[in-house]
């Protein structure tokens, strides 16, 4: 009987801990989807800026609008407290996100501003891409510098 209790207890503990690791699986997937969507569209703009792809105003504008679109997702939904890389596998989110929510939100809002500019200007000509990419890149870096665990 004692043995049985011990096994039940151990299973509960193990089950419990794996439940913690699984708890934020969807949030992690969702926010990484956001990042990949941004990255994919930056790829289009960047390839045109570097001259690896011919400039196409429609494609550039669509990429700018896509980035602007995902920049509007509600951040707190994607980064609930405890969903950082210290507690979960497969994420490099730092726990400073939760201790400094205001700073994190501010960085995301800065991306929003740069993305709005990208949506408005990326389709106006190839020469607009440099400043657009510079502004977006600055906001990516500023946030990753503080809130991402270095790989």
């Amino acid at each position: 009987m004692k043995k049985f209790v011990a096994i039940v207890a151990a299973t509960a503990i193990l089950g419990g801990s794996s439940a913690i690791a699984q708890e934020y699986k969807n949030q992690i997937k969702a926010r990484q989807g956001v990042m990949w969507t941004i990255s994919l569209n930056l790829g289009t703009l960047g390839a045109m800026a570097k001259g690896e792809m011919e400039y196409d105003a429609d494609k550039a504008a669509a990429a700018g609008r896509s980035i602007h679109g995902v920049s509007m997702v509600h951040l707190a939904t994607l980064f609930p407290e405890g969903s950082d890389g210290g507690m979960n596998d497969g994420t490099t989110a730092k726990d400073t996100i939760f201790s400094d929510r205001a700073g994190f939100d501010e960085k995301w809002a800065a991306l929003g501003t740069a993305a709005e500019k990208a949506a408005a200007e990326a389709g106006t000509g190839k020469e607009a891409l440099g400043p657009v990419m510079g502004a977006l890149g600055g906001t990516c870096k500023a946030c990753h510098e503080t809130y991402r665990i270095p790989q």
């Binding site: 941004i38 990255s39 994919l40 930056l42 790829g43 960047g46 570097k50 990419m133 510079g134 890149g137 600055g138 990516c140 870096k141 500023a142 990753h144 510098e145 991402r148 665990i149 270095p150 790989q151």
Partner: protein, 301 residues
């Protein structure tokens, strides 16, 4: 026996004393260089990344030009704290002369004649051109002063014996380039100066030996992060397979070829390289692509 031993110990101690003595530049060597240009000094300041380590913890934007110090740099030897190097006469370097800056950068020596810890990357800055030091000095004086007192390093015995750093320098402070040769061409020569001297890239990207000296045989081969977490990537062409255009673009925008972005301390570095001329970023890329692959026959090790 004692008759032999005592003189031998004395001779050894004498040699050690000479070897560990702080070196310095000649009294008026730098004063003689006239016409210092602060705006040229700003480029040197940016390329050398001075602000990245010397701005106050968490400072952003223009506040990064207030070189109040205070950031902590953990290492296996203890935690080093960047000092105040703003022009404040009491807490910063406002009371210095140009030769004091030259001694710090070229020899790792303070105005009082003490050794600095090599967390301050003088093993790289030792290659700096005299002209650049004079211009940098002019620029530093245009920055805002901060009266924030410098905080002491958190370093235990035996590393807290400053004189022993003289021995460390004897072993690891080298005045020859890693990518040697006088016929490198203009771009590689510039790239070498930016990477090996000002940018001090190897300080993080090259592994260190047990005494904390850079392992020049594995130049830019990547290294464990000194904070103890994670690794700093290799930059040799076998590992960093990006094109020269990609490397230059990364240094301009922070975007990798996959359009991920730089993070951590490298984000600070990119903030600096983004301000350089495009030719300088291209020169850095060219230098990295010209690095020998560790273990290849051309390196001889």
């Amino acid at each position: 026996m004692l008759k032999v031993l005592v003189p031998a110990v004395l001779v050894a101690a004498g040699i050690a004393w000479v070897v560990t003595a702080p070196k310095s530049v000649a009294e008026d060597e730098f004063v003689a260089i006239s016409g210092a240009e602060a705006d040229r000094g700003e480029v040197i300041f940016t390329a050398a990344g001075c602000a990245s380590c010397h701005h106050a913890p968490g400072a952003e934007g223009e506040a990064r030009l207030v070189l109040a110090g205070g950031q902590a740099f953990p290492s296996p030897f203890g935690t080093f704290k960047a000092p105040n190097i703003s022009p404040d006469p009491e807490h910063g370097i406002g009371g210095w002369e140009v030769r004091d800056l030259a001694n710090a950068l070229l020899h790792g020596v303070s105005p009082g004649g003490g050794h600095y810890y090599p967390a301050f990357p003088y093993t790289s800055y030792t290659h700096m051109a005299d002209r650049d030091i004079v211009d940098l000095w002019a620029y530093l004086q245009t920055l805002p002063a901060s009266s924030e007192p410098s905080v002491g390093h958190d370093v235990g015995f035996p590393f807290n014996i400053r004189r022993s750093l003289g021995g460390w320098k004897f072993l690891f402070l080298k005045d020859d380039w890693v990518m040697d040769g006088n016929d490198l061409g203009a771009e590689l020569t510039r790239g070498r100066y930016l990477v090996e001297a000002l940018g001090h890239c190897a300080e993080c990207h090259t592994p260190r030996n047990a005494l904390g000296g850079l392992d020049r045989g594995r130049w830019m081969a990547g290294a464990p992060d000194p904070s103890g977490k994670g690794t700093i990537p290799a930059l040799t062409p076998d590992k960093l397979t990006w094109s020269e255009t990609d490397i230059a673009y990364y240094l301009e925008t922070g975007f990798t070829p996959e359009f991920d972005s730089a993070g951590g301390h490298m984000a600070k570095v990119v903030t600096n390289t983004a301000k350089l001329e495009a030719e300088d970023r291209a020169a850095i890329a060219a230098y990295l692509k010209a690095l020998p692959v560790p273990g290849s026959p051309s390196t001889g090790y």
